[in-house]
């Protein structure tokens, strides 16, 4: 016994990456264990019920899981843990949702007491109809999503075998001229299509849009794509026109400004969740066409109302795309039950190693508050404290020094507070993109940035998601949305796009020492450190001294 894996009593798995069997082991445990941390030497995977059910959904059984653990484990695996794994996995598939020719949607069990147990639950009663025979019960077709969600909460996840409607056919082909889907993208599309519905987890910059395009080419049907904002919608449209046989006219945009419904429609979460007089007026979009595929971009940001609509769309194929399944609101289980299980994921470092995303140097610059700022910070109201320390004047000096150091490269300065950004824009003599900047103006500035006409761009959090700035090599973060981990991941993603010259990317986070800014930064960075992007910490004074 000298395997690369150590099984912990809290059901985490530690994988020694430098071990010769590490790759085999990772492949063996990836189907059921969620990669939680991937720092340099030892990766931590976690075995959760969701992960085990994901594995069951993908066709693995308990024996394979146990074998993988026992085979690669360095120390004997506690018997209790193996028993627990087998029992948990055994819970999946006791209940199945199928389509019955006479009764419509039917919940069937292979284990009668389980059915009895769940039918006694108050939350299940309103979702089911008549008992058909001792082993099956009718389910209202409209409650297909609800019941899956509820059963998962009860710990008896149902296997959905009720199938999908094909939707309205529409020819879509990938146009692979001068480029091709990367191996992992192909694998992701294949896994998704085979599984029917589910989520593909890929790092920022690893080409999630292409996985979406590939899936559409598989489905060859009308598609509804849900994205976070208008800029991202345009980006999708641009990519689809470039990479597939679709033309501009076949792709509609459904946003605050335009309401086009075409064979392929890209809608923003915002417009869908707009509520007027207590109703969601744009919900009819879901029924406006016979969609064959629904793509959810950035699943980890899916707003709660969209979950509710999605519950009603269980008969259509659903593809979720995300960089991380971590949700700040902890609704991972809803993603599992409503969109589908995880169908594919690849760790960031692995894709980086394949050269598809740029290596990055992450640096945290600690600045000291001046004495008068410290006093003011100490007396500030609690809710003002973060704003106060995040916008300290010293940060401006550091930012200027960094911009000077990387003069000639494409630099993004990202921040949270508009006046701070305006001030920075003024001092750096760079344009500022913020909430009030019009879309036309934004696209114009982005184009100029891409062309290299301007080399420094100051952006607020509007640029957090889904805009493609391929040539940004340096990002300087001066403030953020408190301790949001996924925001940090998104921002790092800005500089991880592969560089034409193989240049190293730099990500700087400027943080005020001994304040809650530092605490938030620690929280934000933990996610990236766990992804293998460790920060170096430097003192602003030293850095300024070097620069001088």
């Amino acid at each position: 016994m000298n395997g690369p894996l150590i099984v912990q009593s809290d059901k985490t798995l530690l994988l020694e990456v430098d071990h010769e069997q590490a790759d085999d082991c990772r492949r063996a445990i990836a189907p059921f264990a969620e990669l939680e941390r991937a720092p340099e030497h030892i990766h931590t995977y976690r075995v959760t019920p969701l992960g085990l059910w994901n594995a069951r959904a993908a066709g693995h059984d308990a024996e394979q899981v146990v074998d993988a653990l026992v085979q690669y484990s360095r120390y004997p695996v506690p018997h209790a843990l193996l028993v627990d794994i087998a029992e948990t996995m055994d819970r999946y598939g006791r209940l199945t949702l199928t389509k019955h020719p006479a009764h419509g949607l039917v919940l069937t069990t292979t284990d009668r007491p389980v059915l009895e147990e769940i039918l006694r639950s108050k939350r299940v009663i309103p979702l089911v109809g008549a008992r058909i025979d001792p082993d099956s019960v009718a389910v209202h077709p409209s409650e297909r999503g609800q019941i899956k969600q509820t059963l998962l909460k009860l710990g008896w996840p149902a296997e959905d075998l009720a199938g999908y409607v094909d939707g309205e056919a529409h020819p879509i082909e990938l146009r692979e001229d001068g480029w091709a889907l990367r191996a992992y993208q192909k694998q992701a599309v294949e896994n998704f299509w085979h599984g029917g519905s589910g989520v593909v987890v890929l790092p920022c910059g690893a080409g999630k849009t292409l996985v979406g395009a590939g899936s559409m080419a598989q489905a060859k049907s009308t598609t509804l794509i849900l994205v976070t904002n208008t800029v991202s919608a345009r980006q999708w449209k641009h990519e689809l026109v470039k990479r597939t046989s679709l033309t501009e006219d076949e792709i509609g945009e459904y946003s605050g400004t335009r309401k086009e419904i075409r064979p392929v429609t890209i809608a923003t979460y915002q417009v869908l969740t707009t509520k007027r007089k207590g109703i969601y007026p744009h919900l009819e979009l879901f029924d406006s066409r016979d969609w064959g595929l629904i793509v959810y971009d950035e699943v980890h940001l899916l707003p709660a109302p969209v979950f509710k609509f999605t519950a009603d769309l269980q008969a259509r194929r659903r593809l979720g795309l995300t960089a991380t399944l971590v949700r700040e609101d902890g609704r991972e289980s809803d993603v599992f039950s409503l969109i589908g299980p995880k169908r594919f994921d690849a760790p960031w470092k692995e894709i980086e190693a394949q050269g598809y995303i740029a290596p990055a140097d992450c640096v945290e610059v600690r600045v000291n508050l001046t004495d008068s700022e410290r006093l003011a910070y100490a007396t500030a109201e609690t809710e003002e404290k973060y704003r106060f320390c995040a916008t300290t004047a010293t940060k401006r000096k550091v930012t200027e020094a960094l911009v000077r150091r990387f003069a000639g490269q494409q630099i993004l300065v990202i921040g949270q507070y508009i006046d701070q950004l305006d001030e920075l824009g003024e001092h750096l003599n760079a344009p500022v993109i913020k909430g009030e900047t019009s879309n036309a103006q934004r696209e114009k500035l982005f184009d100029a940035f891409r062309e290299g006409e301007i080399s420094v761009l100051v952006v607020s959090k509007v640029a957090n998601f889904s805009i493609d700035l391929p040539e940004a090599t340096v990002a300087i973060q001066v403030s953020g949305t408190f301790g949001s981990r996924q925001e940090e991941a998104q921002r790092l993603g800005r500089v991880l796009r592969p560089k034409a010259d193989g240049h190293q990317a730099h990500f700087y986070s400027v943080v005020a020492r001994d304040t809650i800014d530092q605490d938030f930064a620690a929280h934000r960075q933990r996610f990236l450190a766990e992804q293998g992007y460790a920060y170096r910490i430097v003192d602003a004074d030293e850095m300024l001294a070097e620069g001088a």
Binding site: I6, Q8, S9, D10, L14, E40
Partner: protein, 847 residues
């Protein structure tokens, strides 16, 4: 038993007399209660072997088939022949398995002195017969009713003749021969079959319902025709108004001669459900053994600084157990198991202080110094032999008191024997085979059945279940199969697995050949156990992981120890970082708080850097080094101390003067700042001291104002004024008065009631009032019993528990178990008096 030439024994004592020494020794070994104290002769031994308590104890220790055999003998004729018994056990069909097993069962019963007499005259000891024979109050497990003869006792001769005639037998001149003829008919399979052929369908259904018991049924005063048909032929006999019984002979006919529905001649086989590689089993068990040691250490480390307090009733509170479970990250029952194990091993105990707390014992520190394998062997041995049973924790005892961990009431004397037996059963399987818990339980239930079947989870079954789960926790078993070290613990040499999985155990007594060294049936003696434990430790030692001297440091501020760490390293790391996950490896996380903790413990930042550098296989990540420096930079920046008073003065030369003055040394002055001195003396003493030195200080309030000194009048905390103490008792109120009068009158009645003169035998006549009557105990009992019947009041002399004598007038209600329950006129309530405390009784003279 050799009964060759000697005349057949006429009593158990005679039967014992002819037994040889070995066979007597076997009896005494299995029934040790017979030699405490050692009987004077065999007659006394036979008498003792026939006492109810002893017979009960012996019956409870029989295996199921031997018990069934005894039950069958109890429903057979007395004495019975071997053939009778065989018919009852094996049925008319003579089931070969039963027939093969019967001699062994009978031999067991004989050995236990429950059965004596030759093959032609088998006699069950009378007490056993009484205990096992069916009666309306205690139905037999056989489900059989009384015989025809018993059931017809008290029936009118006319009715008996009627039944005999209806059953198709000739009338006889007396009831005895009629009953015999009827019983003979019922026992004759052919004639009986012919009789039952005529029975209406419904009647047969009634019989089918009663045949396997309970044999009693209810009938209305005017039974339906099909019932009447049965009653008329004596196939059902009335026992009480409205109740009928199926006579034993009829039931046996219907059962095909079987006394039991399922004679269980062969012990259930302990089946293996899974077979693992023995090496894997041993390794898994060793891993668990290592966890066991780590858990015990964690537990006691957690209690290092003041463990939980001891409850007043003894034991650990539910809340403390919960807290411990959280700290160990295990479910509560498991936490209870570890706590109890540490206690039983003498590693923790109550400290016996006024405010009692649990803490590790000095033995724990010695234990810690031992090699890991020996530490484990000590725990395993403790577990195997302990009578304390942690599985009971959280339940309630017979008096409905909660059973708490480390508390009283957890000892179960059967526990060591059950544990040993369960492990022996596991040892009987091939190496690496894990049995299903249910098959182990079924086997145990067969070996030691309950005479009266209970709910499924009797104590032994529960103990067995706990044994299986605890053995896994402790690493005696691995993946459900007994490990090599577990086998060694039982004192059995490791045997290469034979192919067949035929069980051992009481099967030893079966006439089946064994080619396996038999396992010790009984738990080992302490010296044997010590040898076995050492052997187990030797087997375990090479399987335990070697402690490591390095960790892997990572940039996400974690350190991973990919295995157990050497103790000094582990101790230091647990101060410097927080443990995030435990198991085969340990994950530590460095946080500002944990680094500060290390600095507080007196380490300097450079020590920490050196420590990490020395023990890390990989370079120390920059963020970690930065974290340590960053925390160290701030550490100790603010200083906190205690002072009782301060001296403040704008003129620092004056303060210099005070500091320099030798007279001020008692005030404990220290300069904190140019214009501030801190003093250890309190403000008043400081003021006085400074004044004595010739200064004129002014006191300052907390807000910094000058205090105007004015003598403060001293006050007590709020107090109530004392209550007046009157001379003599207070005037009684009406209730008190009436109660007092009643008591006086009752006492008066006792003292003055005219009594009949006591019996002449008791000596002096109890003439004068006030004398305590003295009577012999027999007389006392007779008098009191008579008074119960007549309902008369008695005058008694009584000595209470403190030895004070008194006289009372009582009206006895009942006498039983050495106690008189009576209405006490003196106390005006019903009380119970032990008879032996009554010094004498006298009847009250009739008024």
């Amino acid at each position: 038993m050799s009964t060759e030439d000697r005349p057949a024994p006429r009593s158990l004592a005679e039967a014992l007399r002819v037994r040889d020494d070995d066979s007597l020794a076997a009896l005494l070994r299995s029934r040790p209660d017979l030699i405490t104290p050692v009987p004077t002769d065999l007659t006394q031994l036979a008498t003792r072997a026939g006492t109810r308590a002893s017979v009960l104890r012996a019956l409870e220790r029989l295996d199921r088939f031997a018990l069934q055999t005894a039950e069958a003998l109890a429903v057979a004729a007395d004495p019975a022949t071997y053939d009778d018994l065989l018919a009852l056990m094996a049925g008319d069909a003579r089931d070969p398995a039963v027939a093969a097993a019967l001699p062994r069962a009978l031999a067991t019963l004989r050995e236990q002195a429950l059965v004596w007499g030759g093959e032609d005259r088998l006699r069950l000891v009378r007490t056993a017969r009484e205990l096992l024979a069916p009666s309306p109050q205690h139905p037999s497990p056989t489900g059989l009713g009384p015989t025809v003869q018993e059931a017809t006792a008290g029936m009118s001769p006319g009715r008996i003749q009627e039944i005999v005639t209806t059953a198709g037998l000739p009338t006889t001149h007396d009831s005895v021969s009629a009953v015999t003829a009827l019983a003979a008919l019922f026992s004759d399979r052919e004639r009986m079959a012919a009789l039952l052929d005529e029975a209406p369908e419904e009647s047969r259904a009634v019989l089918a319902r009663l045949v396997w018991g309970p044999p009693y049924g209810q009938v209305t005063p005017d039974p339906a025709a099909h019932l009447r048909w049965l009653l008329d032929r004596g196939l059902l006999l009335p026992t009480a108004p409205g109740t009928v019984v199926l006579p034993r002979e009829v039931a046996l006919h219907l059962r095909g001669g079987h006394a039991h529905r399922e004679p269980e001649a062969v012990p259930p086989v302990v089946e293996a459900t899974a077979t693992h590689r023995p090496a894997m089993v041993d390794a898994t068990a060793a891993g668990q053994a290592y966890t066991a040691l780590a858990t015990i250490e964690d537990l006691l480390k957690d209690w290092d600084e003041g463990g939980p307090t001891v409850l007043r009733a003894g034991g650990l509170s539910v809340r403390d157990l919960k807290r411990t479970a959280v700290a160990l990250d295990v479910p509560e029952p498991v936490a209870a198991f570890w706590v109890e194990l540490a206690y039983a091993a003498g590693l923790l105990a109550s400290d016996g202080d006024a405010d009692e707390r649990y803490a590790a014992t000095p033995a724990y520190d010695e234990w810690l110094e031992r090699p890991a394998a020996e530490r484990w062997a000590r725990l395993a041995e403790t577990w195997l032999t302990a009578t304390r049973t942690s599985g009971l924790i959280g339940g309630r005892d017979a008096k409905d008191r909660a059973l708490s961990a480390l508390g009283p009431g957890l000892d179960r004397s059967a526990a060591p024997e059950v544990r040993h037996r369960v492990l022996t059963l596991l040892a009987g399987l091939p190496e690496g085979a894990a049995p299903a818990a249910e098959s182990v339980l079924a086997r145990l239930r067969w070996e030691r059945p309950l005479r009266v079947p209970q709910r499924e989870d009797d104590l032994r079954s529960r103990l067995a279940r706990w044994t299986l789960s605890e053995a896994e926790l402790l690493g005696v078993t691995g993946r459900g199969a007994l490990s090599a070290q577990g086998r060694a613990l039982l004192g059995t040499p490791v045997v290469k697995a034979p192919k067949e999985s035929e069980p051992s155990g009481p099967g030893d007594k079966l006439p089946v050949h064994h080619h396996r060294p038999s396992l010790p049936r009984e738990p080992l003696s302490p010296p044997e156990q010590a040898v076995a434990s050492t052997a187990a430790a030797r087997l375990l030692a090479p399987l335990l992981p070697e402690p490591l001297d390095h960790v892997l440091l990572q940039a996400d501020l974690t350190a991973v120890a990919p295995g157990p760490l050497q103790r000094p390293l582990a101790d230091m790391l647990s101060v410097l970082a927080d443990v995030e996950s435990k198991g085969g490896a340990t994950v530590y996380r460095f946080t500002p708080a944990s680094v500060r903790r290390a600095l507080d413990a007196g380490r300097a930042a450079s020590d920490l850097h050196d420590f990490l550098g020395a023990h890390s296989r990989t370079p120390v990540p920059q963020p970690l080094a930065y974290l340590i420096d960053d925390v160290a930079r701030k550490h100790g920046h603010l200083r906190v101390g205690a002072a009782s008073a301060y001296v403040r003065c704008d003129d620092d030369t004056l303060l210099n003067e005070i500091l320099a003055d030798k007279r001020g040394s008692a005030l404990g002055l220290r300069r904190l700042a140019p214009t501030v001195l801190a003093a250890q003396a309190d403000p008043t003493a400081l003021l006085d001291g400074l004044r004595a030195m010739g200064y004129a200080p002014a006191a300052e309030s907390a807000e910094g104002d000058v205090l105007i000194t004015r003598a403060l009048a001293h006050r007590t905390p709020p107090r109530t004024a004392p209550e007046p103490v009157p001379d003599g008792p207070p005037t009684p109120d009406a209730t008190l008065l009436s109660a007092a009068i009643r008591a006086i009158r009752a006492g008066d009645l006792a003292a003055t009631a005219p009594r009949k003169p006591a019996a002449a035998a008791s000596g002096e006549p109890a003439g004068t009032s006030g004398d305590l009557p003295r009577t012999s105990s027999a007389e006392t009992l007779a008098t009191v019993q008579a008074a119960v019947l007549t309902g008369e009041a008695l005058w008694i002399g009584y000595v209470n528990a403190e030895g004070a004598a008194s006289q009372r007038v009582i009206a006895p209600i009942r006498v039983e178990g050495g106690f008189v329950t009576a209405y006490d006129h003196t106390a005006d309530e019903v009380r119970t008096y032990p008879l032996h405390r009554i010094t004498g009784v006298a009847e009250l003279a009739d008024d």
